[in-house]
């Protein structure tokens, strides 16, 4: 038994090693003098300094963050409204068909989304650039927000809302005092998810961005096509730290939600 246990641990160790090796590899070489990723040449911060002096790259990082924050914010608002609407539809057929439409952008390959948006923007004669990238990011983030908010709305059910309206609450009061506080965790996860989708996206942006505007993914792609530059390694070191912070944040958000759920369950048990 202990023998099997060790084998399974070894397997898991290997999987984790393979998953993390390329990332660690990038970060290790970000500290290497020299300019290739084959031999380590002694420790230096020079690539990080070069990164700080690379105004073009810094502007692109800021643009990427701006797009991510703006698009997730707008997508969260529209998606939450959509989820509220879907939740109120009474007929299952309407509801299911809306949900199927909602999921189209989630399952579609990025290339299809990118290509069809490109046709769409060109047909409307919107010049490619910031606007088109922002609109696309909003568009592909909305369905995720809907999917994150909807379960919360279902969990809420109707009894609380009808109780509130029986007690004379207006629609606005029901929304702000009952529904919104209850679904806030769902809205937050939706926003978070939208943020990661936006930061991570390459293909859609690649299609709808013009010459003047670039996001980090597109920039890395064009630099990687030109070959190795350890500045990208330094960048990935910083981004890894950033991702780590985000993931830890997400983990605690989840833990917090679970704790709340547990507490509520306990309270309900106490009442019973």
């Amino acid at each position: 038994m202990t023998h099997r246990f060790k084998l399974s641990n070894l397997y898991l160790f290997l999987v984790f090693a393979v998953l993390y090796a390329p990332i660690l590899f990038l970060i290790v070489f970000s500290f290497s003098q020299g300019d290739s990723m084959s031999h380590f040449h002694g420790f230096t911060f020079s690539h990080y300094l070069a990164l700080l002096n690379d105004t073009r790259l810094i502007i692109i990082v800021l643009q990427t963050l701006l797009i991510a924050l703006l698009s997730s914010l707008i997508a969260t608002i529209i998606g939450t409204l959509g989820a509220l609407g879907i939740n109120q539809t009474s007929r299952p057929i309407t509801r299911n068909s809306i949900l199927s439409l909602n999921n189209i952008l989630i399952v579609s390959p990025d290339v299809i989304i990118g290509a069809s948006f490109l046709i769409f923007f060109t047909a409307l004669k919107i010049p490619l650039g910031f606007t088109t990238v922002l609109l696309s990011h909003i568009a592909f983030s909305i369905p995720i927000v809907v999917l994150m908010v909807l379960p919360k709305l279902r969990e809420l059910g109707t009894s609380m809302v009808s109780a509130a309206s029986d007690l004379g609450a207006s629609n606005g009061q029901i929304l702000s005092k009952i529904i919104l506080p209850y679904i806030t965790p769902g809205i937050l996860s939706g926003f978070f998810m939208a943020l990661t989708y936006s930061l991570d996206d390459f293909a859609v942006t690649f299609f709808v961005t013009g010459n003047g505007f670039s996001t980090l993914s597109v920039e890395i792609y064009s630099r990687a096509r030109q070959g190795i530059s350890l500045e990208i390694n330094a960048l990935s070191g910083i981004l890894f730290l950033f991702a780590l912070v985000l993931v830890v944040g997400y983990y605690f958000l989840n833990q917090y939600q679970q704790n709340r759920r547990l507490k509520r369950a306990n309270r309900e048990e106490d009442i019973l």
Binding site: S8, P22, M37, S38, G82, L101, S116, I138, I142
Partner: protein
């Protein structure tokens, strides 16, 4: 009456999104697939697609590679998910599996350019064990390897969730009734975790058809996937009609896969 108007208000932004960014782009891509280079309405693109062996071969090739990637991913992910579910602090370990997906895909591809290069770490290792340096970058092998690497977390997550949902008492019952471990796996565990496997296959196979950035950066243009062909037609040769036709083929492939993998619509709530 009041809630009706309210409902309408919720639906206005969301409905606009459905109309403009879900339905219109799909309709446009289908419409464009019937346009030739002179914007005339014709069936030429489809005739070219089905008559020239190149396009059909490319499609089959792309499907074949997506299949290889999916099978490789599944073979690695299923045991990993199973072993993970037996660990203490499994949620934390799972988070560590997800963490690499938060690193930009382009950065991971870029890391492999360094690892697989002529004097890279992989070749140094091959030299060390006596095989000698090989051409690794720009081969079919490296394309499949990197694609599998990138997709593994998306396969592990849904399988892990379905294993978590599995009731331990079924496994105990199966053992009590005298089934061997293999029989238990084949007759109990596998069928009951099949929804997770299907969800995983869906979220790996479809994107694998369209990984054009990997074919460019890692595959050295030797592997042409449907995604590569679409990107080529839209952004390089500017033959949007033919690009849209391949897009329609990709959409059809996607729908077929969705039907095969059942109703599991969500991606298990993972970032792309």
């Amino acid at each position: 009456m009041k809630s009706k108007t309210n409902n309408l208000f919720y639906f206005i932004p969301y409905g606009l999104w459905l109309l403009l960014f879900v339905m219109a782009p799909v309709a446009l891509i289908v419409y464009h697939s019937f346009l030739n280079l002179n914007q005339h309405f014709t069936l030429d693109n489809y005739i070219t697609y089905f008559k020239s062996g190149t396009y059909l071969m490319m499609t089959l090739n792309s499907l074949w590679y997506a299949l290889l990637i999916t099978v490789a991913t599944l073979l690695i992910s299923y045991p990993t998910a199973y072993l993970l579910s037996n660990l203490k602090h499994k949620q934390l370990w799972l988070l560590l599996i997800i963490l690499p997906t938060w690193i930009n895909l382009l950065l991971k591809a870029y890391a492999f350019i360094g690892i697989f290069s002529q004097s890279g770490v992989a070749n140094q290792f091959l030299t060390f064990i006596g095989i000698g340096p090989q051409q690794l970058l720009f081969t079919n092998f490296s394309f499949i390897f990197v694609a599998t690497y990138i997709q593994i977390p998306f396969m592990i997550l849904p399988i892990f969730n379905s294993i978590e949902d599995l009731n331990q008492s079924y496994i105990n019952a199966s053992h009590d009734l005298g089934a061997t471990s293999w029989q238990t796996f084949r007759k109990v565990i596998w069928p009951m975790t099949l929804p997770g496997v299907k969800a995983g296959v869906q979220s790996v196979f479809i994107p694998s058809l369209s990984l054009f950035m990997l074919t460019r950066l890692i595959g050295g243009n030797k592997v042409i996937t449907l995604g590569t062909a679409i990107e080529e037609h839209f952004l390089i040769t500017m033959n949007w009609g033919m690009g849209s036709t391949i897009g329609v083929v990709l959409i059809v492939a996607m729908v077929v896969i969705m039907i095969f993998t059942g109703e599991s619509k969500t991606r298990g709530g993972v970032p792309k």
